[in-house]
C-alpha cells in the first residue's frame, strides 16, 4: 500500500508562541519548531500498516526551508522518503489554499492512503483532512482512535462526544488519527543515520500546477486583522490545608455563587 503521511512543522506548544507583528502570521522564525505531535501518531500508524501489509511510506510537508529539520526527524522514525512543498509564494496561505496545494501534491503521489494527525497544535483548526478529501473526491475517515486495514477496506473507530462511531470506506482515503491510536516509536540511532540519506524531493508551486496568486496572502480567503497578547492570569488566594481546607474551598465557591 502506498501511504502518504502529512507532517506539519509547528512552534513548540510548550514554549511561548506568537503571531508576527508585521504580517500576522505564526512566528516560525524565532520559535523552537517541532513536528506537530499528533503527526507522530500518524507516522507510527503508517509504519505499522506497512509492516503488516507491505508498501511504501512517504512524508509530505508544506512549509518553509527550516521544515527540513522536521522532515528528517520524521524520516528517522522509518518512512521511506519525503516530499517537501517549498515555495516563497506559500507564505501567508489560508487553510483553503493549503488544502489545494496538498491535494495537488497528493494527486501526483497517487496515494492509496493518506494519514494525518487529527489537528495541529498551532492552529487547531481540524479542517485539513476533509478539505483534502473533498478536493480529491475520496473518503475521509477522521478522528480515528483505531484503524483496521483489510485489503482495500478501511475501518476506523471514530472518537465522538458520546462515544465512538464505526466507519468504513475503501481506499483511496484520508484518515486522521488522535493520540490514543498507538504509541509512536522513538527513532533509533540507525534510523537517524539512515534518514540523512533518504530521498527528499522538493516541489515548487509550478511543479504542482498551482498559480502563485492562488496561495499566500494574494489567494487567502481569510485574514487576521489584529492580534493582542492576553495578560497572563495571576493566581489568587492560596491557602494550606490545616483541617478546614474543604470548608474554605466551599466558602470561596459560595462567594462566587457556585454553591
Amino acid at each position: 500500500m502506498n501511504i502518504v503521511v502529512l507532517v506539519k512543522q509547528v512552534p513548540d506548544s510548550g514554549a511561548d508562541r506568537n503571531l508576527r507583528n508585521d504580517d500576522n502570521t505564526v512566528d516560525r522564525g524565532s520559535a523552537n519548531n517541532v513536528i506537530n505531535e499528533m503527526d507522530e501518531y500518524a507516522i507510527e500508524e503508517a509504519l505499522k500498516i506497512k509492516e503488516a501489509h507491505g508498501g511504501e511510506v512517504t512524508i509530505l510537508t508544506m512549509g518553509p526551508d527550516r521544515a527540513t529539520e522536521s522532515i528528517r526527524k520524521a524520516l528517522s522514525m522509518g518512512p521511506d522518503k519525503a516530499v517537501h512543498v517549498l515555495d516563497d509564494a506559500l507564505h501567508g496561505s489560508c487553510a483553503v489554499a493549503t488544502s489545494k496545494v496538498l491535494a495537488a501534491a497528493l494527486g501526483q503521489l497517487g496515494a492509496d492512503l493518506v494519514i494525518c494527525g487529527a489537528e495541529s497544535t498551532d492552529g487547531r483548526v481540524q479542517v485539513m483532512p476533509h478539505m483534502i478529501a473533498e478536493r480529491l473526491g475520496v473518503a475521509a475517515l477522521t478522528g480515528a482512535r483505531k484503524l483496521t486495514v483489510d485489503g482495500a477496506t478501511l475501518t476506523v473507530e471514530r472518537q465522538t462526544e458520546e462515544g465512538y462511531e464505526v466507519v468504513t470506506a475503501s481506499t483511496p482515503a484520508v484518515v486522521s488519527v488522535w493520540d490514543t491510536i498507538n504509541e509512536p516509536r522513538y527513532p533509533s540511532f540507525k534510523g537517524i543515520m539512515a534518514a540523512k540519506k533518504k530521498p527528499v524531493q522538493t516541489l515548487a508551486l509550478a511543479d504542482l500546477g498551482v498559480a502563485p496568486d492562488e496561495v499566500g496572502f494574494d489567494g487567502a480567503t481569510s485574514a487576521v486583522v489584529e492580534h493582542t497578547k492576553r495578560p497572563p492570569r495571576s493566581g489568587g488566594a492560596k491557602i494550606t490545608d490545616e483541617g478546614e481546607g474543604g470548608v474554605k474551598l466551599v466558602e470561596f465557591l459560595a462567594t462566587e455563587k457556585f454553591v
Binding site: 479542517v127 462515544g163 470506506a169 487576521v224 492560596k238 454553591v259
Partner: protein, 319 residues
C-alpha cells in the same frame, strides 16, 4: 434583514445542544436566524420547539439515512446547495469535530474562507478568536465569500426569544462521492447524565494525583454536587484512570466553563492549553509549587483525599 444559517448540533438523548442556542443568540445580532437540521428522520420535528424558543424563524431540514448514515460529506453537500439558494449573511456551525468538518467541506465547495474557534462575531463579520492556548486574542475576517464561522461552546450566553418556525424539508441530492465513508455503528460511552464536557458551566477534573481509576469517584462526586462535567488531565488518561474523551488539554478538549476545579493536577502547559480561559479556576494539589496555582483564583495546598470529601460534605450541608 438577511438570513443567518445556524447548523444545529443535537444529540438523540439530550436534544438541542447548548452551543446551538448560543449560535441562535449570536445569529440574532447579525440577521434573522434560520436553523438547519441535518440528521436522522424526524429530527427537525423533535427539535423545533427548542429552536423556536431561541429565535429560529425558520427550520431547514434534510433527514434520513442518506444524510445521517455517512460521515459529514452529504451534510456539506446539502448545506452548500442551501447557501447558494438563500445567500445568507453568515453561516454558523459549532466548533466541534463535526461542525468543523462540515465547514471544511463547505469552504472548499464554495471557495469560501473559514474561521474556527470563534468566541465573538460583529455585525461587520469581524470574528474574535482565541489562539495559542488562550494566550493570544485574534480579530479576523473572511475575505472571500460570506462569514463561515465555527463557534466555540460557552462563548455566548444563550437568551430566549420566542419564534414559531415552520419546517422546510430540503430535497436531498447527495452524490455517490458523498457516500464513501459509511457509518456502520454508533456506540454510546458517555457515563450517566452529566453535561457534556465542552458545554458544561462547571468542570471538575482529576489528574495524576487522583492516583487510580477507582478514586475518580471522588472527582465525579464533586462534579455531580456542582452540576458539572468530569474532565481528566493527560497524565490521568495515559495512566488509564479515565477515558480519553474526557481529556482536557492541548491534545484533548478545550473547555471554557464558569468554574474549573483542578484536583491533583500540576498544571503542565499541555493541560493549561485546554482550560486557562475558564472564568474561575480552583485548584487542590499537595505540591504548593505546582504551576496550576499560578492560574488558580483559589488554591488549597494539601491532601485532596481529605479536602475533597470535606468539601463535598460542606456542599451537602448547604443544600
Amino acid at each position: 434583514m438577511s438570513e443567518v444559517l445556524v447548523v444545529v448540533e443535537a444529540t438523540k438523548e439530550f436534544g438541542v445542544k447548548k452551543v446551538t442556542l448560543e449560535m441562535l443568540t449570536l445569529a440574532r445580532e447579525l440577521g434573522t436566524p434560520s436553523a438547519v437540521v441535518l440528521g436522522g428522520a424526524g429530527a427537525a420535528e423533535a427539535l423545533s420547539g427548542k429552536l423556536g424558543e431561541y429565535g429560529a424563524e425558520k427550520i431547514y431540514a434534510a433527514e434520513g439515512d442518506e444524510i445521517d448514515g455517512y460521515l459529514v460529506a452529504p451534510k456539506a453537500t446539502v448545506l452548500a446547495e442551501l447557501v447558494k439558494r438563500v445567500q445568507p449573511a453568515a453561516v454558523l456551525l459549532a466548533s466541534a469535530q463535526e461542525g468543523k468538518e462540515i465547514a471544511a467541506r463547505l469552504a472548499v465547495k464554495l471557495d469560501n474562507g473559514i474561521l474556527t474557534d470563534v468566541v465573538g462575531l460583529d455585525a461587520d463579520g469581524t470574528a474574535t478568536q482565541v489562539a495559542f492556548a488562550g494566550s493570544t486574542i485574534v480579530k479576523s475576517k473572511v475575505t472571500k465569500g460570506l462569514p463561515l464561522v465555527t463557534v466555540r461552546p460557552n462563548s455566548v450566553t444563550p437568551a430566549p426569544a420566542a419564534a414559531a418556525p415552520a419546517i422546510e424539508q430540503l430535497s436531498v441530492s447527495v452524490t455517490d462521492t458523498d457516500k464513501l465513508a459509511k457509518v456502520v455503528e454508533r456506540v454510546a460511552e458517555q457515563k450517566g447524565s452529566r453535561p457534556e464536557l465542552t458545554e458544561a458551566g462547571v468542570v471538575v477534573s482529576g489528574g495524576r494525583g487522583v492516583g487510580n481509576a477507582d478514586n475518580f469517584k471522588l472527582v465525579e462526586e464533586l462534579a455531580d454536587l456542582l452540576g458539572g462535567a468530569v474532565g481528566a488531565s493527560r497524565a490521568a488518561v495515559d495512566s488509564g484512570f479515565y477515558p480519553h474523551q474526557f481529556q482536557v488539554g492541548q491534545t484533548g478538549k478545550t473547555v471554557s466553563p464558569q468554574l474549573y476545579v483542578a484536583l491533583g493536577i500540576s498544571g503542565a502547559i499541555q493541560h493549561r492549553a485546554g482550560m486557562q480561559t475558564s472564568k474561575t479556576i480552583v485548584a487542590v494539589n499537595k505540591d504548593g509549587e505546582a504551576p496550576i496555582f499560578e492560574l488558580a483564583d483559589f488554591g488549597v495546598v494539601g491532601d485532596l483525599f481529605k479536602i475533597v470529601p470535606q468539601a463535598a460534605e460542606e456542599i451537602r450541608k448547604r443544600k
